[in-house]
């Protein structure tokens, strides 16, 4: 075989691999959209390309009323979780990264190890706490319990971020006798926006997707968040599962996430690797 042909074969093989990678990544969601746009008998025929497009499944989900409420529930929980954990994490990260004190390393290790906790390990204890606090079947039970994974993560990433900033930026402020709180507010916050957007976004996605706590701490349809709502959509029998509606609901809750992730691609990738690799 001549070198030119070998090179051509190599290039072809490479692009074949690229095609396979793209196809496997995109196809399942493409097929979900396809199914969501079919209705009646068309759903039960395997199609690879769109045939008769109808939005009946989407109208069905929206007209239902409860699904809209469930989306709002998810938006509320994820937003409040992000705001509270960012607020708690910024001040904590300042202390952990800019001030030397005894036990700092141990504290960081403890916080990191909390993020390794299997959620199931705290489930029965949390269930008791939430019942005692009177939060059972309230969205606040999720706001409270989601702190277990958003807080360690945001503290960890913001601490590594703050640590990289030069000491000079706060020296002048300390000399002027500014309080630590003023230093955070006036000096660090303006510089921290990129890191906070990234961690906030990742925490939002995590809270939006959470399933186990939402399944356990909420008991009525109107209170549920979308992952549990989608998991519990069912027909009267195994043969009447409304696949069209399930796919429509899936597309509705996933599309905004995909858009967010693609828009903030670079930030998310750097946030993910900072959360996992650095240390």
């Amino acid at each position: 075989m001549s070198p030119a042909i070998t090179r051509l074969a190599k290039t072809a093989g490479f692009y074949l691999l690229v095609a396979v990678i793209i196809l496997q990544a995109v196809f399942p969601f493409y097929y979900a959209i396809l199914t969501s746009l079919e209705s009646g008998q068309a759903i039960f025929e395997v199609n690879y390309l769109p045939t008769a497009v109808t939005f009946a499944n989407y109208w069905g989900m929206i007209a239902d009323g409860v699904f809209g409420k469930q989306i709002l529930n998810s938006v509320f929980v994820a937003t409040v979780v992000v705001c509270i954990s960012l607020f708690l994490a910024v001040t904590a990260a300042f202390a952990l990264s800019r001030i030397r004190f005894r036990g700092r390393g141990l504290l960081l290790l403890t916080i990191l190890s909390v993020s390794m906790f299997p959620q199931i390990a705290v489930l029965s204890g949390l269930f008791e706490v939430i019942r005692i606090l009177g939060l059972f079947n309230s969205l606040w039970s999720l706001v409270f319990s989601y702190m277990i994974f958003t807080l360690p993560f945001t503290v960890w990433v913001l601490t590594t971020f703050m640590r990289k900033m030069p000491i000079e930026i706060e020296e002048a402020a300390i000399m002027d006798g500014a309080s630590s709180f003023t230093i955070i507010r006036r000096i660090f916050l303006p510089l921290m926006w990129p890191a906070m957007v990234t961690t906030g976004l990742l925490a939002f996605i995590h809270a939006w997707n959470e399933f186990l706590f939402a399944l356990t701490f909420l008991s009525t349809d109107g209170q549920r968040t979308v992952p549990v709502a989608i998991a519990l959509i069912s027909g009267l029998s195994e043969f009447e599962v409304p696949w069209g509606n399930i796919m429509a609901a899936s597309v509705i809750v996933t599309l905004p996430l995909i858009v967010l992730v693609l828009v903030f691609q670079r930030k998310i990738v750097s946030g993910l690797t900072a959360g996992a690799v650095k240390g």
Binding site: A25, T91, F101, R104, L126, F211, I230, V277
Partner: protein, 314 residues
Amino acid sequence: MTTRTAISTLSRQRILSAWLFLAPMLVVLAAVALYPLARTIYFGFTDASIDFTSEAQWIGFRNYLEYLDYGDGEGEYFGLLADEGWWSAVWNTLRFTVTSVFFETVFGLVIALVLNTSFKGRALVRAAVLIPWAIPTIVSAKMWAWMMHDQFGILNDMLIRLHLISDPIAWTASPDTAMIAVMMVDIWKTTPFMALLILAGLQMVPADIYEAAKLDGVNPVRLFRKVTLPLIMPAVLVAVVFRALDALRVFDIVYVLTPNNDRTRTMSVFARENLFDFDKFAYGSAASTLLFLIVALLTISFIYATRMNVEADE
């Protein structure tokens, strides 16, 4: 003298404010993680039931192992450690973790290597690869459940068209394929995470190494095995450990894709069923505690083995 006192007062003030800043976060973490964990462990040693957690009585290790003597030298062991259901859940979890993480690492490595070469359309591939990661786990489970539907599923249709199978497979229902189905969804969903972490490692390999190797005419496979792989090994290992710890607590995919299936029931699913479905709150707490112990031991040995340096700046 005066300046030194002034400085030490200042630093004492800073330390005080450090603890003030940490306090709210620590209180929340204690309330949401440490206290519930302690209660879970405690419940595992009691006869607590879901509605009467405060009246729980201490019963020692009976949830874990208990020998009931029937007299005449006959008796039976009860408790988690003698429960076949629990051991099957342990086995399922381990099988799931080892297999999924293995394939995720291999596929993640391939995708990372592709993304690390420059070619037309790389941005497109990077964006496409992120999509499975962005899709909520429950949604991926449902999407795949539909694609793997025994009668109307597109997966069976594809395989039949390609003449790989002759009859449709009931992927999620059949005991032989249920675990494969769960693994497939998990591998599809988390390979992007693996690829991104490995890619971060690859990008730290200095480019001149490749240029030097190219000039010397080193075979690319050899270059990968002898140079690239050893250099990215630390990044790969960290990614593997993170994924493995995550896979050991798998719940969502199994619960949604193959409910009530002995072949796929993992430790987390086993624990939750006992806690909330079977009215065996204490027994479920004991199972949760065992899972916690396993994950904790692995985490500690990982931190110890890598001598992870937390105070990276010093």
